[in-house]
Symmetry: C2
DNA sequence: GAATTTCTGGACTGAGTATTATGGAAGTTC
DNA sequence: GAACTTCCATAATACTCAGTCCAGAAATTC
């Protein structure tokens, strides 16, 4: 049962992808309606508002789309079939590769998408901050799970691991934006994970560094 | 020999401080001339342009001012009277405390000040990117110095340390902006430095963790 | 006090902002 | 083909943007 009336002439999905690239590269506020309409195939204001509602509504839809596609590199955090260590390492590595990808803007839309905002757009800023908070809790949950399983020692140091991984993860957005390569970031991740291993109570496999 | 003519009525330094707070909190583009003039004491456009030249010139002056004041937390990186390890730890700790301070906006102006930019302001973006590159090279220099001194092993892992510390440092801007406390960040730094110690060839003091 | 210099208030550019209104064309369903 | 629904192009909304200009006022130096 197709809808009656004249169908829209442009491809809504392709328009969304083009708009995502623009928001991703420039952020929410500096991206103007003119740019958006242009990159969507020179659609008219009327078509834009009919299809997407408003600039903010479009951005919210695009954030959702981003989370369901590129953002899936964070999925391991909530995959309890993985060991907590695997979950975190896979997330970091996947994020590093995604953010340095060459088929789209570098960096992370959730970290960089609304970092510069005037007061009237705090709601957009909050949208992304809430998603970052969700990531933080996911990382914390992994560490807590590891401690509960006895895989990780319950020490003052292990309690700091969530903050270490989170700051590093969010910092990768800056490094990727500044041109850092996936290889460089992945090598850093490999080193960072030894901090976990040094507190690991499951001593199977590689040891823990040494002087 | 004071300059002749009518002196300006507002305090230029105080105006700069107020403008810095605004740019720091909102970033370059979303901060409008109206907001700037208002926070500088409702000065007129004429006074503004006479005193500061343009919005971009003001921003550049403020970045310079920031580097000479708050940005001095990075100074240990180039202080060769410090051991490389001390230099990096002091920089990270100082940065954590500064960015979470309550007397000014949270986060880091150099990381967050122009992260969202339209194409016409790439020069401003570049200004901050260059400063971040300087930081990266400072961190790398510290690690290289430690290796040259024989204080740090020359291994594949130690070669990744600059990327680890840099990503973490830049990530702190996001964490501070999202409300992370100095205590939390400093605890994370303390843990992160054990990565250094695990590769340290100077085994005086604390050992290197382990389960 | 006179001459000079610089600042300030306010009106004003021209361009760009997101968004809305109008009128007619195009395509759909029955 | 008729009725209907939806889309699109154009124009225009009210507003903000960074930046300019001018006339007059204020403070300086001589």
């Amino acid at each position: 049962m197709a809808r009656t009336g004249r169908p829209r002439e442009f491809d809504r999905d392709k328009a969304l992808d083009a708009a995502m690239a623009l928001f991703w590269a420039q952020g929410y506020e500096p991206t103007s309606l003119s740019q958006l309409k242009a990159c969507m195939g020179n659609i008219s204001p009327a078509s834009f508002y009919a299809a997407f509602g408003s600039k903010e509504a479009l951005f919210r839809e695009i954030v959702q789309r981003y989370l369901e596609t590129y953002g899936q590199v964070m999925a391991p955090l909530w995959d309890e079939t993985l060991s907590p260590r695997e979950a975190i390492e896979q997330t970091l590595r996947g994020s590093a590769r995604m953010q340095t990808g060459h088929a789209h803007p570098t960096g992370c839309l959730i970290v960089l998408g609304a970092s510069n905002c005037s007061p009237e757009n705090h709601s957009v800023q909050y949208l992304l901050a809430a998603e970052r908070a969700r990531t933080r809790s996911g990382i914390s949950a992994c560490v807590n799970r590891a401690i509960a399983q006895g895989a990780l020692a319950d020490t003052p140091l292990t309690e700091t691991l969530p903050a270490v991984f989170t700051a590093f993860l969010h910092g990768m957005a800056c490094e990727a934006r500044d041109g850092g390569s996936a290889e460089k970031l992945e090598a850093a991740i490999e080193s960072l994970m030894r901090l976990w291993d040094s507190q690991s109570m499951v001593l199977s496999g590689s040891g823990h560094g040494g002087g």
